[in-house]
Amino acid sequence: PGDTSVLAGLYGPAEAKVSKELPDRAALEVLLRPKVGLPGVLERSREQLLRQTCEAVLLGALHPRTAISLVLQVLSDAGSVSFPAGLLDAGLPLAALFCGVTCALQPDGTILLDPTARQEQEARAVLTFAIASSDRKVLMATTKGSCSVEEMQQCLAAAQRAASTIFQFYRDSVRRRYSKC
């Protein structure tokens, strides 16, 4: 969305290395490559966020002792990121779809959804949520900057509303993809 583009490649379920395989479910690995430079500490923490979010929705128990690799290449970074359409396309069994929504809190208190990089910098706080499609619950949350508790609740409510629009977009894209073939 906006100016951000991320290329996602998904490999698996494939055979896992003995050191990495888990006996009861699939082992998920996420690799995030930034646009410039080598992956650093920031990428590692984002990878951990994504991996744990995916593990929650992926029905890994259907594919034990396998490895699923998700490789993300940032092509241009201009703000919020959401990508699970890639997971759906690969046909992996998912318990629920999820989408990422970012809200920026302006200094005067208004809430901006899906901000650009400039808006993010000027904002008092930026909150990113991953909302599940099944029941609009919060799968993942990170914040940057500080905000009051009421503001967080407001952003969460706004994010949940926006999630419905995004899920509709998923449905449309998938319908388009599969109606051709």
Partner: protein, 280 residues
Amino acid sequence: LSICFRTVEPLEYYRRFLKENCRPDGRELGEFRTTTVNIGKCLCSITTADGSALVKLGNTTVICGIKAELAAPAVDSANKGYIVPNVELPSLCAERFRSGPPGEEAQAASQFIADVIENSQMIVKEDLCIANGKLAWVLYCDIICLDYDGNLLDASVFALLAALKNVQLPLVTINEETGLSEVNLKQKSPLIIRKHPVASSFAVFDDTLLIVDPTAEEEDLATGTVTIVTDEEGRLCSVHKPGGSPLTGAKLQDCVTRAITRHKEVKKLIDKVIKSITPK
């Protein structure tokens, strides 16, 4: 018999306790473990650091050492100093950590601490600047876990806060004629700490139950974790929920309320300890 059951079916063992609203170590679901903190050179024993603190949260032991050094500020932010946190999980703290380059957990924790410092504006980088464009302080914050029994993030944030309160920076002046800096070790002033963020971590079980301050065993069995960082005004500095089972907004709100209460407890503890070591 109960030890065998615990090893073979840890989740069931836990569920039995959770049904009675308590945990194997006797705590309530909303109770934190006993927290102790040692600050400063006499009690904490890092004599080479400018500020240090040792925090014990139950069995989890974290030590934080702060070293202050001088450096030239970056070109694009000439009036800002640097704060560099680094969290280390050496192999001595738990058998799951191997020696070698920092693993994902250590790196994610380091990033989390950096974010907390930045978000809460605990230390404003402009305060660390001595001379615009020429000289600024760099604070290296090394947080090392000595014993890992769950809830690393809470203990690390607490240790960092306690150590920073203990730092005394010497006065540095720049000699106008020679352009060199002169460090006056006799005149020391404490660091300006604007906000006091405190982290509270929760573990989610079976998508519904929330327990506070998980031990390592509870973290392994949990289906998700949430960490909330609040400051003294009740504002949220960070909501960190890295995936895991989905939570409703109401549950998140419960966590926040508990975190705010915890903040008051921790603040009282730190103030008490600082008062006890300040020389009269």
